[in-house]
Symmetry: C3
Subunit: 346 residues, 3 copies
């Protein structure tokens, strides 16, 4: 997609200084600007870059006074950072939402309905009796099983898989390879040492504005629903077990694992590779550092946690400080023992 | 799929009290029952729910005497929990095994044979010279490379990938996005600091009744076979390196990683995010807690392990207890040193 | 693929002793040799196996003198290990590079160009305006978004996904389910407790000879490029965040996670499940043990690290030794306190 500088100035409420008909098709950091790209100057530290950038255009402050000649055209706005952010959002919106229509071959099962403005990429699969909202973008090789419901403006990237009976809200994003609704890990040990599979008959419900990272897996409930509430964001390679419930506006970094039937509160933040045990409840607003393990309920809200198993963050940091000098501590205890022996003998 | 209450009663050996021709098409917890669903009452604690459930039918004990009117139809059986479990199993069986036939387009390579009762979803791919048993269900976008053998009644969910030459047993389940037979991670360091790829020519063998979770990866052997023995269950996002051997009826939770050439015994249980080093042997019946690391051989059978690196579970718990109070211990050692100094000086 | 023993002898510079026209189609360990397979004898320890192997042929040393009759044909070479390795490499090369041509249906977007000798498997997808080099092998169900560039001799296995605008070098290997260019995990917290998505407009650049494991995920940059430099090898289920830069000839084992904007040096080696914090710099030649966490910059080159958080390896091992005996240390401190009390009272 190409835009003229005038189009961009209109979009972000700015004034072009230079060639209004020049076109750009890429955004770049100012130090990496190439012909055809647009950049911005907000932090004065980067001012020297504006004199040597090869970018076609730079968004600058209304009152910016160059001290040297500039080859790029300028677009002057009140706040260049805000203006550039508006531009990025408009560009991203267009990039992800621009696709529409149906590429063939693609598969649409009987009794399924798809709303207006949708995209169905080649080799995408929609099962039977699905209801799919308006402006839903289904990329190539995505899979949607039978009886799935998907809300408006949701994006399903290439190769994401949604098992039968799952419910996906509006404005959700499922990245490539995400798996929604795979069987929960339920096996009942038998007397002969083998395992019997416990049927997994529930589904997964993602509320509105949920984001699911690439190759993240969310298991269906044994009965009922595994639930991810509104606005929650899961990074890549996260594991969510069967019957888990994750609250609203919670953020989990990559490779977090949540065991079955755990309940995570609203507004939590988990660092990468955190593990949560089965049937655990974690209070609202909990902030948990990377690689931590949560084996028991967290009942107090809005606290910071660290460690495997977790401790209050400050306590864990203090314990880790001593841990690093344990060989010294051990030596000092040995010396004390010898001194005390000497004292007793004296 | 809809079932009449009479059909269900016949299936689980019960007697209908109410409308035998009423139909249900879903199973639900009693407190979440909706018209069209069937539930069960086993624990007396939940008796109040039976009087307000909207479920169409509830499975109850033979001798259950209601103390209030019930709108749902009842199905009376000897043991409601057992009866309901039978029902779930029959339902799950039907749900996963009901699909059959061939959706187009799908790809079948020359010289490949597929047994009776199979399902091949749209955009599924079967390479050359494969032998695939009866009742195998291959979901849309699954990939099966050349010369693969798959036993009867195995289910390959959407987007699972099986590289050439692998062998999959009977009654296995491969969840969406699982990868079987990718190249082992073998690179020989060269004098100039680069790496040369070591050819990976072996395969993966999954014996009967093996379950592989969503997006789990099992690498092929360098030579010979990476082997997962009968009845073993791997959860989602598990990594199994090249030339690994995992015994019978072993269970591994999500995000476990097993490095190349490790040998894991029968009847082991690993918690989530456990790591096992390369060329390590882990004895039969080992139980390993979440996030543990196994850097050396585990020779004693049937023991519980915890920690990174592992210790016997009780010892690790005791060490962790002291770890939490390390700042205090450190302070006490400092005080002792001062006191001992005072004593010597006195 | 079948080869006559004469063909193999020509390939590795050997002399056949036996039936030169006998054919083999598999390689095997000598103790697992079956008719149709070729093996080798290098370590004298395995000599007894050569007398009972069922392999069709065995590669042996020029001067090997059997002490018993051997049913297999022999191929005599200077160094059997080197000869066998040459054979494996030739076989692996043929196996992965032998495929060519186009299987239908496959999708090729307008304005995209694909070089000579390529393979495009069924249900593979190539978007618009892509440039794809010679001898590139694109397996079934692989996805390549718009404007992607791929160098010569690269292999994209089944179901790997490359988002729009990414650049993949020559001789790269992307294993099944790998995701290149998914959105970085960027969400700006708002005053009302919700999160706003930060547009992710950059791409991923993989230089030449990079290997990406099965189901590994590499996020695109917010702006600019997430960069993996020449010759670097990533194992399965690795997470690489947005704007990360990984140096040349670095090796990362499975399930490593690198948070956004981290910079990893050349020639590093990371064990499995290592985590690296955001915006961290790790010096060239760093060797980091499994499950370690790197929360701060590593400035010294070529050092060994271990622990969560990391310490120099030897120090961590010493601290872990004391950790295991912490209950004893704690008890000894208590005893000292009592003794010192007694001494003061005496």
């Amino acid at each position: 997609m190409k835009f003229s500088l005038q189009q961009i100035a209109d979009l972000i409420g700015g004034i072009v200084e230079g060639d209004t008909s020049a076109e750009v098709w890429d955004v770049a950091k100012i130090e990496e600007g190439k012909p055809g790209s647009i950049s911005f100057l907000s932090n004065p530290k980067y001012e020297p870059e504006v004199y040597r950038t090869e970018a076609t255009a730079v968004v600058v402050a209304k009152d910016f006074t160059p001290s040297q000649p500039i080859s790029a055209s300028l677009i002057r706005v009140e706040d260049p950072y805000v203006g550039f952010t508006q531009l990025l959002e408009a560009y991203a919106q267009q990039k992800s939402m621009a696709v529409s229509g149906i590429e063939e071959p693609s598969f649409l099962g009987e009794g399924s309905q798809v709303g207006d403005g949708h995209y169905r990429g080649a080799f995408s699969y929609i099962g039977k009796h699905c209801t799919i909202g308006n402006n839903v973008k289904i990329y190539p090789q995505a899979y949607i099983g039978d009886n799935v419901h998907i809300g408006d403006n949701t994006i399903i990237y290439s190769g994401a898989k949604i098992y039968a009976d799952c419910v996906i809200g509006a404005r959700c994003v499922l990245h490539a390879g995400a798996v929604i609704g795979s069987d929960g890990f339920g096996f009942a040990p038998q007397k002969d040492g083998t395992y019997k599979t416990i049927p997994q008959l529930g589904n997964v419900v993602l509320e509105d504005d949920v984001s699911v990272g690439a190759n993240t897996t969310i298991d269906c409930a044994t009965l009922g629903s595994t639930l991810v509430k509104q606005g929650t964001k899961l990074d890549n390679l996260v594991q969510v077990g069967h019957n888990v419930e994750i609250g609203k506006h919670t953020v989990m970094a990559a490779q977090v694992g949540i065991a079955g039937s755990a309940t995570i509160g609203d507004q939590c933040m988990f660092g990468g590779q955190v593990g949560v045990g089965g049937h655990i409840t974690v209070a609202n607003g909990s902030k948990v550092g990377a690689q931590a393990a949560i084996p028991n309920d967290v009942k107090e809200e809005n606290k910071n946690w660290l460690g495997s198993p977790i401790q209050p963050m400050r306590e864990n940091i203090k314990s880790l400080m001593v841990f690093k000098s344990l060989p010294d501590l051990s030596k000092r205890v040995k010396q004390l023992e010898q001194k005390v022996l000497t004292l007793r003998d004296s």
